[in-house]
Amino acid sequence: MDPENQALIKRIVDEQGTDDMVVLLGAADAEAVEVAAETVRDGDPAYVGPLAGVQLGLPVFHVFEDEVKEQSDAAVYEQQVGFFEMTLDTNEVKEGMKRARGES
């Protein structure tokens, strides 16, 4: 995750705390997803950005995951994400999220 987004998340959490905060990702490949998930939970794994050594512990999901899809309006989801579901490798992304959460 680029340092700008790390700084953004750190600022938001500094101002509002972590209560009820959730990060939703849209990255297209498993590695980017894993790194982003690790960054907002355990800190920047590369130890270069503002979240280096900062364990925010934020819940993080990908917009492709069933947990997000099932809670959203079906028509909105289809309109906003349907195209990307067809053109991107959703299974790879979902597996990346599972690995990031230590589920596989």
Partner: protein
């Protein structure tokens, strides 16, 4: 994890799903979107 009532940071990606699309989905689930970004890898 219940999205309704949560504060969502939507981090999209230019080569993936854009932040605004994630935000619309989150809003439709009853979440409050507090930040939207679309990351660009070059």
């Amino acid at each position: 994890m219940e999205l309704r009532g949560k504060k969502v940071i939507a981090l999209g990606e230019r080569d993936g799903v854009p932040g605004e699309a994630i935000a619309e989905v989150a809003r439709s689930a009853g979440a409050e979107v507090i930040e939207v970004r679309t990351e660009c890898f070059v």
